[in-house]
């Protein structure tokens, strides 16, 4: 299996994501933002960092890159896409995920290890992986991670099982609506989350709970194609 990790000017965690994909047992390569085709790629990571300096709005410029056009097509055909932190912001700006990420309520960048609850409900279109609730210890590090969507949208997300991750009670670092840390699209193949699973894959530097996130995405890649 081959992961593609996008790289924009200003990306920071792309090499960390690359290493994490490799640690999860697959191959991985960087995809430069100017690449227009994703041949041979089975799953995409849009990584963390400050693409284009977060200028204008986080992710607002990166979403227009040729690579993101390719990702849009890839996602539309069911390809699995994981957006981490800035990557989540890019996916929301690109309309591949609902909602938006706003300035942390504290107005400060916050870097902290915290507990993330995996919402184990399966998407109704991807029935092939088991529903597994879990709590993962993962670091979050961001200044604009407060998830927002209008109430009707939030209600629909919850009803559809599209809330993928939530901050454990009392651990919401940014004032995110309903403690939402990550969401998936309706089809379930595009997932975005603010915390950084790629920084929880090496026992030397912290927990290894992050591997679970990569495994879940990899499972989508190896699932039989949707009817």
């Amino acid at each position: 299996m081959m992961w593609g990790v996008l790289q924009f000017p200003g990306s920071c965690d792309e090499l960390d994501a690359l290493q994490a994909c490799q640690r999860s047992g697959a191959e991985a390569r960087l995809v430069w933002h100017e690449e227009r085709y994703l041949d041979g790629i089975d799953a995409i990571v849009v990584p963390g960092g400050f693409s284009y300096g977060d200028y204008l709005r986080a992710g607002a410029i990166a979403r227009f890159s040729p690579a993101m056009e390719a990702v849009g097509e890839f996602a539309a055909s069911g390809g699995p896409v994981l957006g981490i932190c800035n990557g989540f912001q890019v996916l929301c700006e690109a309309g591949l995920l609902p909602g938006a990420l706003l300035l942390n309520e504290s107005m400060r960048f916050t870097c902290r290890q915290l507990d993330l609850e995996v919402d184990g409900t399966q998407s109704r279109d991807i029935g092939h992986f088991e529903s597994r609730r879990a709590t993962l210890s993962i670091p979050a590090k961001h200044g604009e991670g407060r998830y927002y969507a209008p109430d009707e949208v939030l209600d629909a997300l919850e009803a559809n099982g599209q809330v993928a991750y939530r901050y454990a009670p009392g651990q919401n670092p940014n004032g995110s609506a309903r403690d939402i840390a990550g969401v998936r699209n309706e089809a379930g193949n595009v997932v975005g989350l603010m915390p950084h699973p790629e920084h929880a894959v090496d026992p030397l530097t912290g927990s290894t709970d992050g591997l679970r996130v990569f495994e879940d995405i990899a499972a989508i890649a190896s699932a039989p194609a949707n009817a």
Partner: protein, 721 residues
């Protein structure tokens, strides 16, 4: 305005001006005067410190690059080197803390990648006035946000640091930024320009009026009233631009496309071109019309002294220039051929092909006179005192006052604003252990780094206080099993032309030299910041030490947190606690001159014992005893472990100290360890008690105390702005 008096406004003395005239054989013009005034300033020329710095030991078998280059570097194994340096950005931060601190980080990052090392960590050492001052809170808040903004955006983890609050820094805050990088030794590059006919290429951001300070007086002759647009501006940092320049430079070096590389910092093009030419023994011609400008109407002198950020200067062979420009294009960063290396020994500034300034490189870069200090020891304590803790306070009250003292309290409020994990190297994050630890898979080992200083103790005794600062670093490194490889230092002092600060500087440098020699740790680079004086006098003399060490196996490192109920707690090392210069004596308003002498040999031996024990995975925790003494160190280990402890200080008192000294006295040489009792005894540590329970109980004669862990933690975590 006659040029003769302009020089004084630019900070040059009459005799310095006369020397310039002599070296040029004529009066300097505007451009030349501006360039000399900057390169002959204290900040660039080290006029009052260069002679002193020659005392520092700089040689060592692991030194790959010593002082004099953009950064120093030590061999880490397998053909790799760790580059590092610390620099100050004190005065800009006092004016605009966010941008001052941010650009301080930007500058030190450039120094590291200028030698071909990829930055892998930053640390910061900050000092402000007491927190009851609105100004100090504003500076602290701005500086922390600025450091976070720059470091986080560029993706380099901030893995450690220190923050102190003392009245003498009220008008002169200190912002010292340290950076470490990793390089393949074969790809490292020096700054010396070489190769007659080679092209000088300017890369990165465009050039504007940032930071044009003293030279603005020259501008006043040409400005009309109300010409606000031409006024000098604060340096503004752009970490996004820097990330592009960094990748561009590292790719250029990897491809072997550069002859030399230099960053543009203080005094901009003047200093970087001048220093490159000087190091290479060559001349340089620069045409300012070829410099990409942010503002179209800049004068040649402005272009030469601008401190616009995120710019690098390279020397490139003519047949490689196209390839260099192509790499810059790929990374979307600016590039322009602006000059050529010559054999004239002159630095010539041209505008549209006409020479507008010209001087011998040697005169500009090395011609500045160096001054001897005229030191005189001040009589008694000259910094004042302010009591905030009553003499009758109980032991519990005293302990809580120390724990909540902003200099001692947890700095979590600050370090949570920094990304400490990007890069996947961070084994020990801030406050997890006494030093930061970063894995180095390239060499199959790990490095540890600590940045430490204590201005107040150095004010009590500059020579011994500086030795203590070096030992503090060595002890912090020992607590993670690391052996020191090299050291960088930033010397932050008052006005060297006054006898008191001159004496402090002289004594501190001699202490630094002595400690480095006895420890066997070379100085690979550093920085000096002088003239840090306010209306009430100079800052505390503050040498800040950044020390880097290596350890073979990061998996064996323990932290400073107690791990298990029932573990024994023990004291190791030649620890002779004393209240002189301590945080307690500060809170009581009883600071005075004098510090005990440290037994460097004995402390070094204790470091070796702790280091070997850590490497053998023999300890549950290790913590160096420093601010607030043994009691505070104990509480810190307990809070980190979420478990209390009970100890008896009788064994320490038997060394001849009072209960109060045993509890709160400070000195070098104390390690607080925990683990298996038999193992600790074998190491020669003195057992004091056990880990367990929900309280901190310390038996210390008539000053015994008991405090609940919850209350202690609440005091220790009280620092927030």
């Amino acid at each position: 305005m006659a040029v003769e008096s302009r020089h004084r406004d630019l900070g040059l003395t009459d005799s310095e001006f006369d020397l310039i005239v002599e070296k040029l054989g004529r009066q300097p013009n505007e451009v030349e005067l501006a360039m000399f005034s900057l390169l002959w300033s204290e900040h660039c020329a080290y006029k009052h410190s260069r002679k002193l710095l020659r005392r520092l030991p700089t040689a060592g078998e692991r030194v790959v690059m010593g002082p004099g280059e953009n950064a120093g570097a030590v061999d880490i194994g397998n053909g790799h080197a760790i580059a590092f340096k610390v620099e100050s950005h004190n005065h800009p931060s006092a004016v605009e803390p966010f941008q001052g601190a941010a650009t301080g980080v930007g500058g030190i990052l450039r120094d590291v990648f200028a030698i071909g090392a990829r930055p892998i960590a930053i640390l910061d050492s900050l000092r402000f006035g007491e927190l009851d001052s609105l100004r100090s809170r504003h500076l602290l808040d701005g500086a922390v946000r600025g450091i976070g903004h720059y470091g986080n955006s560029i993706g380099v983890p901030n893995v450690g640091g220190e923050i102190y609050f003392e009245a003498p820094y009220e008008h002169n805050c200190l912002v010292n930024a340290m950076c470490l990088g990793i390089a393949k030794q074969a790809e490292m590059v020096r700054a010396a320009a070489a190769g007659i006919g080679n092209v000088v290429v300017l890369m990165g951001a465009s050039t504007g009026r940032d930071g044009i300070g003293g030279a603005s007086v020259l501008a006043s002759a040409e400005l009309g009233e109300g010409d606000e647009a031409k006024r000098p501006t604060v340096q503004i940092g752009d970490p996004f631009e820097e990330s592009k320049v960094l990748e561009c430079c590292l790719e250029l070096l990897e491809k072997g496309l550069l002859v030399s590389l230099q960053d543009l910092g203080a005094a901009g093009l003047t200093s970087s071109a001048g220093e490159m030419a000087s190091a290479g023994g060559v001349g340089i011609d620069l045409d300012v019309t070829l410099v990409p400008l942010r503002e179209a109407d800049m004068e040649p002198f402005e272009i030469m002294v601008s401190e616009s950020q995120e710019r690098m200067l390279a020397v490139v062979e003519p047949d490689k220039v196209a390839a260099v420009l192509a790499v810059c294009e790929k990374w979307q960063t600016g590039s322009a051929e602006i000059g050529v290396v010559t054999d004239s020994g002159q630095i010539r500034i041209l505008r549209n092909g006409n020479v507008v300034g010209e001087m011998p490189v040697e005169a500009l870069v090395d011609g500045c006179p160096l001054y001897d200090l005229e030191p005189a020891e001040p009589q008694g304590w000259m910094y004042g005192n302010r009591a905030t803790l009553a003499a009758e306070a109980s032991s519990e009250e005293t302990l809580l006052a120390l724990l909540s003292s902003p200099s001692i309290a947890s700095k979590r409020w600050a370090f949570e604003q920094y990304d400490s994990v990007v890069g996947s190297r961070t084994v020990c994050r801030p406050e997890a252990a006494d030093a930061a630890v970063l894995q180095i898979p390239e060499a199959g080992n790990a490095i540890a780094v600590s940045i430490d200083g204590n201005g107040r103790r150095v004010a009590c005794d500059p020579h011994n206080g500086t030795i203590e600062a070096v030992l503090e670093c060595a002890q912090n490194l020992a607590c993670v099993g690391a052996e020191p490889l090299g050291l960088t230092n930033c010397l932050n002092f008052g006005n060297p032309e006054k006898p008191g600060p001159a004496w402090q500087l002289d004594q501190a440098v001699s202490g630094l030299a002595a400690a480095c020699e006895q420890l066997g740790v070379p100085v690979v680079g550093g920085n000096v910041s002088l003239y840090n004086e306010g209306p009430e006098g100079p800052i505390y003399p503050t040498p800040v030490i950044g020390m880097v060490g290596e350890l073979p196996d990061p998996a064996k490192v323990c932290g400073s947190a107690f791990l298990r109920e029932g573990d024994a707690i023990a004291l190791l090392g030649p620890f002779e606690p004393n209240l002189a210069g301590s945080e307690l004596v500060k809170l009581r308003g009883e600071l005075d001159v004098g510090l005990p002498r440290s037994d460097v040999t004995a402390v070094t031996a204790a470091c070796a014992t702790v280091r070997e024990a850590i490497r053998g995975a023999k300890l549950a925790s290790a913590h160096d005893i420093s601010d607030g003494g043994l009691a505070c160190a104990l509480v810190e280990s307990a809070i980190a472990g979420g478990v209390g402890c009970s100890i008896d200080l009788q064994p320490l008192r038997e060394r001849g100290c009072s209960p109060e000294e045993a509890l709160f006295g400070e000195a070098a040489g104390g390690f607080l360890l925990s683990g298996d009792l038999a193992t600790l005894e074998e190491l020669g540590a003195t057992p004091l008690g056990k880990v367990g329970g929900a309280t901190i109980e310390i038996a210390a004669g008539d000053r015994s105390l008991t405090v609940s862990l919850v209350v202690a933690e609440s005091a220790w975590r009280s620092l927030t702005v």
